[in-house]
Amino acid sequence: MELNKLTAHELLDLIKNKKATPQEILGSVHEQIEKSEKDVKAYVRINENTVVATASDERSVPIPIGIKDNMCILDQETTCSSKILKGFKAPYNATVIDKLKKSGALLIGNTNMDEFAMGSSTENSCYGTTHNPWKLDCVPGGSSGGSAAAVAANEAIWAIGSDTGGSIRQPASFCGVVGMKPTYGRVSRYGLIAFASSLDQIGPITKDVADSALLLNIIAGYDERDSTSVDMPVPDYTQALENNVKGLKIGIPKEYFVEGLDPEVKDAVMTAIEVLKKQGATFEEVSLPHTDYGIATYYITATSEASSNLARYDGVQYGIRELAKKTRKSPLLDMYDETRAVGFGAEVKRRIMLGTYSLSSGYYDAYYLKGLKVRTLIKNDFDKLFADFDAIIGPTSPTTAFKIGDRVNDPLSMYLSDIYTVSANLSGIPAISLPCGFSKEKLPIGLHIMTKPFAEEMLFRIAYTYEQNTQWHKQRVEL
């Protein structure tokens, strides 16, 4: 039995029945890393001495987990895959890390990502590209590409990602795993290095829906250190895993099935809808009229917030510091210029420039403020639908994983791979991507489900029902 290919809930059963130990599980994960990490490159740092704590109580979940490299871990390097943060060791744990450590989680290492979570392919990393375990010359998606690839390659049982515009769901879709973005405010962002604060949310990347619910149980909840986290009780999400969608009403937005959608992806999604129909859900074509403005609104909002959030990387307190060889403006200004010129990659610089422009006086009203208003219109679209529908369904991404290098020089085509996912961030609602088939090239396809705010249980119920009536989540890569 290859322990590393099992899910967390299967492993917990084995541990409970004394058929496996956390050490054995950790060993099998490390063995896999030994074998395939040189090809996949999912991790930027691997902890050699992961401590297996003696199980303290029944809730203990001693499962090996990968952590995206943008969450602060006490005294360990966290870099957001950026040169500018090389050497930065946080003097504190992110709330999510605290919660995981308390649950007995085995932190295997930090997973690769697009620099500061800006990207859809994990190609924008100062450590190099992560490869898609299903097809090594393809991207794993991004920005949580390392986390999704680690889970798909069985180099982690599960992983944590962050999602600003699809950064959990799109790589999950490309790598054939389950990626879930909770409602904004459901999981504390304290210690998550900010990209766009009003959109960022931490969530689980797992092999199946049951694990997604289990991991969300661990990380969700109010945190007084994050004013945007919501003080609402956290239900036991595993209780929502019900193989039953009878009577549920699900909307299919007509705006999602248009030009640019790969016919193979479309077919897989339509087939998935048939599966749920058979289980008793009813489907209806609906409209989200502001869908077309999603990408533009997203990129204006996200880059504006990023330009402000990333201003602190100036060489003063932490990370790298570069000094000018010859004084140009002043020693201080030269240090800022040099540090940022050397420390940031091209995509991050591009977005800082876009965001700075949108926020600058004279353009603020035309761009950032207008963006906020359109964002409200997009949210209104969803609010209206959720008055009548339990969920909305569609593809996670218009295509399957593309070849490494294919879109690097075409940022716009890269941005379009987030077209179906950004709306959930703009409107703050929960969403999940789960495997629903493969292309002829044997690349995974993702099914995307969204529900109203704090209706994660409904999301899990529909996703679980789909999974119970299909086999896609049982597929494993051989590496």
């Binding site: 946080a90 402000s308 602190r312 003063v316 200004l333």
Partner: protein, 256 residues
């Protein structure tokens, strides 16, 4: 000040007072809010602006701001918002100051003063908004470097901004005296200018009597006593008058 000049020109002054609250902790974190401690001993990830840290507003600072607002006859706004003022400087670890831009906590107030003739006069207060104080730079010339002390970073500040209603250095002085008395009575700050608990910036311009447009202003900063404010303003009034009388134009500037 010459008697003829005073009749010809009118002085226009607006004041911005920065008041440090003496809350037990800082405005967005739990660090102690104290003066004169060893550098960088009163810090945490939040006030150091470390990656991933998030601000949580101090309820006491809001309460103090409301107290001041009520004492200054302000409208207390039921919906307030914090904004970021972005700028690069080593005393500002996030490269932005959290402040309030379009929705401040207090607006449209006034404070009564006495004019030179002993008449009561209403000085309108445009707004009072909450923000965080910056750190302190210490220039070490011997070693040719600058050091940063972040103890002050995140000290709660209330910026109280008047309308340009003050017509002489003396009125400005009287306003500051009355304001300080009010603030001390509220017990929200020690109002010690030496320690920087109360700081004052002034905008001053002059114009011909009868003119409705404001003249070119000079900004006066970092004055460490009310007497210094008065003296500084008197000096500027004389300088502006002399310049206009000799046919020069005033260049807008900030004087430290």
């Amino acid at each position: 000040m010459t008697a003829t000049a005073t009749r010809k020109y009118e002085t226009v002054i607006g004041l911005e007072v920065h008041l440090q609250f003496d809350t037990a902790t800082k405005i967005f974190c739990g660090c102690a809010n104290k003066f004169g401690e060893t550098p960088n001993t009163l810090t945490c990830p939040v006030c150091l602006g470390l990656p991933g840290a998030l601000p949580v507003v101090n309820a006491k600072a809001l309460e103090y701001a409301i107290k001041v607002g009520l004492a200054l006859n302000c409208t207390i706004n039921p919906f307030v918002k914090f904004d970021r003022k972005n700028y690069f400087y080593p005393d500002c670890p996030k490269a932005y100051q959290i402040s309030q831009f379009d929705l401040p906590i207090c607006s449209n107030g006034h404070l009564m003063i006495e004019t030179a003739d002993g008449e009561p006069k209403k000085i309108l207060i445009n707004r009072a908004h909450l923000e965080e104080d910056a750190g302190k730079l210490i220039h070490d010339n011997a070693n040719n470097c600058s050091l940063v002390d972040y103890n002050r970073t995140g000290t709660p500040l209330l910026e109280i901004v008047t309308e340009p209603d003050l017509r002489s250095a003396e009125e400005a002085y009287n306003y500051l005296q009355n304001l300080k008395l009010t603030l001390q009575y509220l017990n929200v700050s020690d109002c010690d200018m030496e320690k920087g608990s109360l700081r004052c910036d002034a905008n001053i311009s002059i114009r011909l009597i009868g003119e409705t447009k404001l003249g070119t202003k000079t900004e006066l900063k970092n004055m460490n006593s009310f007497k210094a404010v008065k003296a500084g303003l008197e000096h500027e009034i004389n300088r502006h008058e002399a310049a206009l009388e000799s046919g020069q134009t005033i260049v807008q500037e900030t004087r430290l």
